[in-house]
Amino acid sequence: MIERWALVSGLKGDLDTYELIQKDLKKTPGNITLFVLGDMIGPEKNCNRLLHRLINPKSNDLQPWCIYGWWEEQILLESGYRGDQRAEALRINKGEEVVKSLTNAVDKSFLDWIAALQFGFVELDCGLIHGSSKDVGENLTLDTPPLTLLDRLTRLQVNRLFTARSKQQFHLELTEGIVNSEVEDLNGNRKKEQKVPQKAVIGIGAGKNYTLYDVGTDNTQFVQAGYKTEKRIKGFGRL
């Protein structure tokens, strides 16, 4: 049977969307693994029902494999799970109100579960993370310099990096890379040509927009929950 991954992020407490996705996936052929790449919570709505469902899947639910995202990082900061630091960046950028809404949106009983979530998964030669391998808050997009993308892939030592933070859906392949390195030290000179094998960075989308990845063929499909149509991206933008 075809092995597929469903990659979801940015649900931010939206149980309805999660249920739509679960429903979709039941109709999707193949052996499907569901990954939720962070931002299960957010300040906009109460997140307790979704969290409860993720932790206690219904009998016919696909088991979700979750990592933490930027919003989880904020609540962990604010709740003292990261030492003396608090969610100052959030406070400065969005104000005290949003910090309050966030902490109100999540029952404290879920915090230990959130704190136990991993930064990312490495499956086969793929890295599954929320932001980048450098920072949970880093946006990787089609406009990110390829050198930066390559570095983020190298840090995890993977060939494909699935990222969610930008909310965008894209599949960017780094088809070829070359650079000449010459080192001079006290032992003399050495030259080396370094090449990179094909690698890719995949933006999985957020909320209703999620991604199906066919492990065998390396093909992505950008899907909107509840719609059968495939969403395709348009062009390079400012690259």
Binding site: P146, H171, E173, G177, V183, N219, F236
Partner: protein, 271 residues
């Protein structure tokens, strides 16, 4: 004009004096220091005061940071428990010895210094504790320089001097899963960039016993590694007299780092 870049002085006064003399003899007045003024060596106050006296712009090194903030790096920077113990001992000894004024000086050192196209840091633009090794992944190395918006990145921390040029680079990219297909491929040329490691004045780990530093000519862009002899015996005696671990003297005299290099030097402490 020539500029000299020195790093990792490590409280070794005879070595610092010899290097500054060598710089002076070449008529070079423009000097930048990449930190680690203290740690391991027996003359922390003397070295700081000499650098302050000469008004040499200095970045904060990993030791300078740790002596001020308390040990920040995790045990991962030490390869063995013995090495860790010695490192901690040297840390405590240095903290006890430093005057309040000199501690303040170290605390207020900048993380990096920028002069036109040159960026000066201790470890890497990411961290004082990151090692930019001479043979690290070329793209990752280039990314460090490029993301720091520099043409030449001067660093230290590894105690091994080198000059690395990264040139003629390119990356081809293609958008998969999009329409229309024909406009979706591009090749991006990467700029030529250099990483220059100044080695170490006071704690060389290049296989020899000489202090090292680099000279950069900003017109020709030429970089030269300089090796300078100094009175090692004098430093070794001061290490023993100060009650610091004798192995610190032994390795200066024998010119290599004895079992003190972390296995995975690319590891960056996140603590």
């Amino acid at each position: 004009m020539n500029q000299a870049v020195i790093s990792c002085l490590h409280a070794n006064l005879p070595a610092v004096e010899a290097v500054l003399k060598d710089i002076e003899l070449q008529g070079i007045t423009n000097i930048t220091c990449l930190g680690d003024l203290v740690g391991y060596g027996p003359q922390p106050n003397e070295v700081i005061e000499l650098i302050r006296d000469k008004e040499i712009p200095t970045c904060q090194g990993c030791w300078d940071e740790d002596v001020v903030d308390g040990l920040d790096a995790c045990d991962c920077s030490y390869p063995s428990q013995l090495a860790e113990k010695r490192g901690h001992f040297a840390h405590q000894w240095t903290t006890d010895k430093l005057t309040t004024e000199n501690k303040d000086y170290l605390a207020n050192l900048p993380y990096s210094i920028r002069k036109d196209k040159c960026l000066f840091v201790h470890g890497s633009p990411n961290s004082q504790h990151e090692y930019l090794l001479p043979d690290m992944d070329a793209f990752a190395a280039l990314e460090r320089v490029e993301n720091a918006r520099a043409e030449i990145l001067f660093c230290g921390h590894t105690h091994q001097p080198y000059i690395r040029e990264l040139a003629d680079g390119s990356i081809a990219v293609k958008i998969k899963n999009s329409v229309p297909k024909d406009t979706q491929e591009k090749e991006i040329q990467l700029p030529m960039r250099r990483i220059v490691n100044a080695g170490s004045v006071g704690e060389p780990r290049h296989g020899g016993t000489k202090a090292t530093y680099v000279v950069h000519n900003d017109v020709t862009n030429e970089v030269k590694i300089r090796e300078v002899e100094y009175d090692i015996e004098l430093t070794c005696k001061a290490i023993i007299d100060a009650g610091l671990p004798p192995i610190f003297a032994w390795r200066l005299k024998n010119g290599f780092e004895f079992a003190e290099q972390a296995e995975d030097a690319s590891h960056v402490c996140e603590r």
